[in-house]
Amino acid sequence: MKLLRQFGFILGLTLFGELIKKVFKLPLPGSVIGMIVLFLLLYLKVVKVENLKEISSFLLDHLSFFFVPAGVGLMAYMGILRDNWFEIGIISLITTVIVLLITGYSIQLLRKRWNK
């Protein structure tokens, strides 16, 4: 029951996040709001991190797998992508590389400067 109870709690938080989003019309997805709420619960020691051990290792260990259907879903866009696949592909590739490197370098540099 441990895993199921923990999973129920996390699903409840996800639902709560969706509710908050709807009520306050926030520009963030319910799951991200749920993440913030869970973080606060942990921070305020309302929830103990030990009590989420099983569910967090289950979900985090399989994180990559959960994205399989989203990737397969690209099939549905083959029609739309057909005329522009090259541009969309190359722009996605170049910008992803640029953003990753610039973000990484900025933080690495700032941390080296400020932590001295």
């Binding site: 520009p27 399989h62 259907p69 990737g71 879903g73 933080i107």
Partner: protein
């Protein structure tokens, strides 16, 4: 035979099988571009095309798996909480880094789209490509983009991030774990975070944090940058 395909079991079993094959190939070769997620996606799409099974049939099961994406995002608070000390110490660097990254993302998309002479509606659809899908779709609509192209670009970006991040960080000597995590989350949202999580708990925690913060920053700055540059 056909009825069996109509149950969720088909999509779930083929997904697990394809992912296991991907894991096997990755572990045997250790070649970073052979990402298990990427291999699984290619195998399944190939299988569906060869046997003329439509996506809808696969999705009876696929939807079950996708259902785990939201709670998996919520649980990212746990590794983040475990790294509370780093967060307290470096929140300024983190916020500045994510803001720079999100700004660069929007500007680089606009610049490259103009360079490749991409239609305006497609250009606008690509603006939210680095952020998490639900927010990206809303932003795309707001800007006047086509949501389905946005979803495709977001998924492509996420897979690219997951596949390329370790190689890029190695080649370009980004060695600070916090910097790696934030860079992955900012450039390639939750799909990239899967790789960050495999690289280490600090990387994963920071990447998870960057999903939410970069989405928020992008929603705020993208409309302004688009207005200035277009």
């Amino acid at each position: 035979m056909i009825e069996l395909l109509q149950t969720p079991l088909f999509g779930i079993v083929i997904s697990i099988l394809a992912y296991e094959i991907g894991l096997f190939i990755y572990k045997k070769t250790k070649f970073p571009l052979f990402n298990p997620l990427l291999i699984a996606i290619i195998l399944i799409i190939g299988f569906l095309l060869i046997f003329r099974i439509d996506l809808q049939t696969y999705n009876f099961g696929g939807e079950f798996i996708s259902l785990f994406l939201s709670p998996a995002t919520v649980i990212l608070a746990v590794p983040l909480y475990n790294k509370l000390e780093i967060l307290k110490k470096s929140y300024k660097e983190i916020l500045i880094g994510i803001t720079i990254g999100s700004t660069v993302s929007v500007i680089s998309v606009l610049t490259l789209s103009k360079l490749f002479k991409v239609e305006k509606s497609i250009l606008l659809s690509l603006v939210p490509k680095s952020i998490t899908t639900p927010v990206g779709v809303e932003l795309s609509k707001q800007l006047g983009g086509i949501p389905s192209i946005t979803v495709a670009a977001i998924v492509i970006t996420g897979i690219l991030g997951a596949v390329l991040a370790p190689v890029l960080c190695k080649i370009f000597k980004i060695e600070d774990k916090l910097a790696i995590g934030i860079a992955i989350g900012t450039s390639s949202h939750a799909a990239g975070t899967t790789k960050a999580m495999e690289m280490g708990e600090t990387e994963g925690a920071m990447s998870g944090l960057a999903i939410g913060v970069s989405a928020l920053v992008t929603v705020l700055i993208a409309p302004i940058i688009v207005r200035i540059l277009l």
